[in-house]
Amino acid sequence: MKEKLIELLTQLKPGIDYNHQTNLISGGYFTSLEIMRLVMLLQDAFDVTISPLYILPENFESVDAMLHLIELVEDD
């Protein structure tokens, strides 16, 4: 799952060390439109629905945070 996510992120925005970055949002790596696009990609790739209430900076800061988010919404 982690590899799939990293592949997805690399497609969206290459050149970022997704394995180690933990400030993807606070570090300003993504524009608002990229974040929106990312949400759509995650929903399609992992077949989940991410409620807007989960679209919070802390859920996108790192790959682990995103994986955690996906697990969370899978249970919903």
Binding site: L12, P52, L56
Partner: protein, 514 residues
Amino acid sequence: METVIFQFEKMLHKLQQKQVTNKVAFLDATSQVTYQQLYEDALFFAYKIICNTKKNDVVCLLMQRGVPMAMMMLACIYAGTPYVILDDQQPIDRIIKIIKIANPSLIIYDEVNLDKCPSLNAFCSTFFLANKDQTQVDNFSLLARKKQIIATDPLYILFTSGSTGEPKGTVITHHNVCSYIEWFVHCFHLNRKTIFANQTPFYFSMSVSDYYATLLTGATMVIVPKSYFSFPVKLFEMMNEFQVNTIYWVPSVYRLIYQFKLLDYIKPKYLKLALFAGEVMPTKILNDWMDHLPKVQFCNLFGPTETTDICTYFKVNRRFANNEALPIGNACENLEVFLINENHQKITDHSVGELIVKGPFVASGYYHNPSKTKNSFIQNPLQKNYPEVVYRTGDLCYYNENHELMYVSRIDFQIKHLGYRIELGEIETIINANLNIKIGFCIYDKENDNILCFYEGKTEKKELNQYLVSKLPYYMIPKYYIKLNEVKLNQNGKIDRKYYQNYFNELLKEDELK
């Protein structure tokens, strides 16, 4: 005629009478300032500015958007020195381009932008940091400078990107802003109880409306951090926390919230007035907002930087179909607008013509740019009896059957294709009415006489073509469709059309359009 200072002090006096000068004027994610503190800080910095400038010298502000910036703008006003706000996110080359035109006597920066100063040394000799120090303010100098300021003096110079890529600085006077804000405040019943959630950067003309309306009515402006517009839950939480009742945002932000379906989950509880401008609002997005927030008054504002901010407005008073365009309405009170044809005659029927603006919101012209000024700020073509300057917007409009103005496109967007005169905006309205399209726009490839359609959405090229064929005459159907992962916006949040023109040329060269 009055100055902004006069109006601001009149308002401050009212706050003093009601003993509410501790009311918050501006706040952002990390700080806030009351009217009393704002006034004191502005005078302190005004004195520091006066020590380094003559009246009407240009001062550049290289600062982050936030409370200190809002205060520093007021300081410049008190110092009688028109300010230029530099976008600290833009490349240093463009900052230098603007500085070369503005030729400032002083640059004020904050700590975040300290590293940029060495590159700017060659163009300006005096800099100071926007932090308070031990300077002793001399009230006499402050008063002497204040007395010299009159309503026709420049208040600020706002730079926009010209069509050639060279920045143009529009000079706006005290008289422009006082007249404009008088309309804005009356039209929307703004007052001390108004609480804005500011979205637009201070170097963008839309911010003139919420900034000065706040300053001159004693309202409160919540300066929302840019990142909150990526995470709109935070945005709405902040709006509810501070009981925001008025917003004035670009349509892209309305679109973002629409696409996240955020209004299904959380609502801005105190919102009463939702204004938008800067780009065409897709009607399906407005309809969605209206469905979710039936009690909110929505209003479409329209105007260029050269008319301070707005010249026409339309209070949404009826329901529009998704494929209908919204009117831009009628002239603001105390302003006149009319349409002229190619022979500079006034249009009195429903045909398309260029929008001309006349009245006290019209800027003085462009800074250090007599040729561009001469092209756009012209003698009123309808009368030759005495000198009277009007502004040519370069926008094409027509009057609908309700005598409301309808925006068509920029003059440069009006094209002649297969013998027909076509407005790209008309095609765009149809594209954007499609529920599977997130955003779409058209560009005209003049060299090869092709209409190009760029879009982001779930639809495949073929489907979109079929859809357009069913809605538009054959001569308006784009030749090429280019599906994008994400539409690139420029620094003001508008579609970066220049970029896509070049992008298309690249695709054409590489023969990747088949």
